[in-house]
Amino acid sequence: MTSTTRTKLEVRQLDAWFGTTQALHDIGLAIPERAATAIIGPSGCGKSTLIRCLNRMHEIVPGARVSGQVLLDGEDIYRPGVDPVQVRARVGMVFQRPNPFPTMSIYDNAAAGLLLSGGRRSRADLDAAVEHSLRQAALWDEVEDSLDASGVSISGGQQQRLCIARALAVEPEVILMDEPCSALDPIATTKIEALIHELKAQYTIVIVTHSMQQAARVSDYTVFMYLGKLIEFGSTERLFTTPQKKETEDYITGRFG
C-alpha cells in the first residue's frame, strides 16, 4: 500500500460465528479507499461471511454473531448504538445471484432505495437519479425504452447490472460484491468487470471471487483466506507474483487440496 491511499474500512480482531461454529478467526485488514479489493480462497473459507460482516448483514442470520471491530472512516460500525440501517445505506451490497424485486419495474427497482426513509423527492429528481445510476451501471442504453418492464424481464447479466444500479442509487461509499458474476455468462461477466473498473474511481469496492483471473483483472489489492483465517493480504500484483505464504502459493498455482 502506498502512503497516499487512505484506509476506508479497517477490520480489527474480527471473529464471526454461526451458532457455535466459528466461521472467522481474528481477521485484521485495512481496505483502501477508491480501489478494488478482491477476496479469494477455497469454498467455505469464510469469504461471504467476512464481506457480510462489513455492512452488518451477517447478524440477520438467526444465531449469527460477531466480535471485534470494523472501522468505517475510523468509526466502529459495531459500537453499541450504531444503527445497522445507517451502515447499510453507506455500505451497499450486490449478491451472487441477481435479485431484482420481481413485482417492480426496472425504474422502480433502480429507485427502490431512494424511496426509503422518507426520501420524498420530486418526480424529476427521481427520474434524474434513476437515469444517473442506470448509466453508472452501464445499463441505461439497453433499458432506456423499457423502464416500465418488469425487473425480471431482462437477461441475467442485465438484472445484475440493475442490482448494481439499485445499490449505486443510494450513493453508498463502499460497494460489496459477493461473486457478482458467478451466475453470468462470459460476455455479461466482461461487462461487469469493465463496470468495476469504472466504479473504483469513485467508490471503494470489495469483491469476492472464485476466479483468480478475475481477481487479477479487476482488483488492486487481494486478500487470500483459508479456513476462516486471513492468510495473506497485499497488492494484487505482489500477491500473485511473489506470494509470501505457502498456502497462498499453493492456491494460486492450483496445487491446492
Binding site: 447499510r88 451497499g92 445471484r97 424485486f101 420481481p102 417492480m104 426509503l116
Partner: protein, 328 residues
C-alpha cells in the same frame, strides 16, 4: 404447518391436476398411480353428482321463476313467492364485511409470525390461531348468542351509531342480532385460514429478496413493504379468497346470530339472511314441493359461487407456490 382440516378442501383437486408423474415405470408405481387416479376421479364424480342432483331437485323452481329467482327480492313462502336476491345480498355483504375485519387482523398476525415474533412466541401463537379453526361452528354460534349479541346491543352498536350514525350503514334499530354480528363471527372464523396461508406465503419469500431490501438500508418495516408484501401479494389475495369461500358457505354460526329476515337493508344492524342460513332454517319447514325446490335452487347457486371463489383462490396460491424467479 397446517392442520388436516385446513388442508382438506384443496387436496381434493390435486390428484387430477398433477400430470407429471415420473416416467420410470414399475408395478408398484403403476398400482399407486391407478389408485390415486381413481381416488381423484371418485372425488370428481362426487362433486359432479352433487351438482346434478341439485339441478334435478330444483328443476320445477328453475322452470317457474327463471332469472327472476336471482333478481327479485320478495322471499315469501306463504305467498309462494321466491326471490333469492335478499339471500344473495346477505351472503355477499356478510362475507365482505367479515373480510374487511379479518384481512387486517390476519395479515397483521401472519406478518408478526413470519417477520417479528421470536421463535419461542411463534410456535404457540400459530398453534392458537390454528386452534381457532378447529372450534365447531355451532360453538361459535353459542358464543355469538351469549357474548357477542349482548355486546353488540349494549356497547358496539351504540358506539357505532353514536359516532358514525349519520351513515345509513350505521343507522336504524339495533337488536343485537343482525348483519354486523354475523360478519364479526364470520371474521373470527376465517382469520385462522387467512392467517395460516398468508404466513406460509410470507415464509416463501426468498431470503435473497429480504436481503436485497436490507442491503439498501431498509428498516424492518421498509423491508416488509419493499420485499415481503409485493412478493407475497398474489398469495395473500389467494388466502383472502379462501377465507371468502369459507365465509360464503358458513351456515350454523351465521344462522344463530344473523336474525333471519329475508330483507335487503342498508343498515348493518338490521337482521338479514344468507343463502346458507335460509336453507338451514327453512328446510325442515318446507311444506310443499315448490318451496323445497326453491331451497335446493338456493343451494345450487351457493355451490356455484363457492366453487368459483375457491378455484380462483387456489389458482392464485399455486401461482405463488411456483414463483417465476428473483431469488433462490
Amino acid at each position: 404447518m397446517d392442520s388436516e382440516s385446513l388442508e382438506a378442501p384443496w387436496m381434493a383437486a390435486r390428484p387430477t391436476v398433477r400430470s407429471t408423474v415420473p416416467r420410470r415405470r414399475n408395478v408398484g408405481d403403476r398400482v399407486f398411480r391407478l389408485l390415486t387416479a381413481s381416488f381423484g376421479l371418485t372425488l370428481l364424480l362426487v362433486v359432479a353428482s352433487i351438482f346434478l342432483v341439485l339441478c334435478y331437485q330444483s328443476r320445477d323452481a328453475v322452470r317457474t321463476f327463471r332469472w327472476a329467482f336471482l333478481t327479485t327480492s320478495v322471499w315469501d313462502p306463504v305467498a309462494r313467492e321466491f326471490g333469492a336476491l335478499p339471500l344473495i345480498y346477505g351472503t355477499i355483504v356478510s362475507s365482505l364485511l367479515a373480510l374487511a375485519q379479518a384481512i387486517p387482523l390476519s395479515v397483521g398476525t401472519a406478518l408478526f409470525l413470519s417477520e417479528l415474533a421470536p421463535s419461542w412466541v411463534r410456535a404457540p401463537v400459530s398453534f392458537l390461531v390454528e386452534l381457532l379453526a378447529t372450534i365447531p361452528s355451532v360453538v361459535y354460534g353459542l358464543w355469538g348468542i351469549f357474548v357477542l349479541v349482548p355486546w353488540m346491543r349494549s356497547y358496539i352498536g351504540p358506539a357505532l351509531s353514536g359516532t358514525l350514525g349519520f351513515l345509513p350503514m350505521f343507522s336504524g334499530p339495533n337488536y343485537g342480532v343482525g348483519m354486523l354480528t354475523a360478519s364479526m363471527i364470520l371474521a373470527v372464523m376465517i382469520v385462522p385460514y387467512i392467517t395460516s396461508v398468508a404466513h406460509e406465503v410470507f415464509q416463501a419469500v426468498p431470503a435473497a429478496q429480504r436481503e436485497a431490501a436490507l442491503a439498501l438500508g431498509a428498516t424492518r418495516w421498509e423491508m416488509i413493504r419493499l420485499a415481503v408484501l409485493p412478493y407475497g401479494r398474489t398469495g395473500v389475495i389467494g388466502a383472502v379468497m379462501l377465507g371468502l369461500g369459507r365465509a360464503i358457505g358458513e351456515t350454523m354460526a351465521v344462522t344463530m346470530v344473523i336474525g333471519n329476515r329475508a330483507d335487503v337493508s342498508l343498515s348493518v344492524f338490521a337482521p338479514a339472511s344468507t343463502m346458507a342460513s335460509v336453507i338451514a332454517n327453512e328446510f325442515t319447514e318446507a311444506t310443499y314441493d315448490l318451496y323445497l325446490q326453491a331451497l335446493v335452487e338456493v343451494g345450487l347457486v351457493l355451490l356455484v359461487v363457492t366453487v368459483v371463489v375457491n378455484v380462483l383462490a387456489r389458482l392464485l396460491v399455486w401461482r405463488v407456490a411456483a414463483p417465476a424467479g428473483g431469488g433462490h
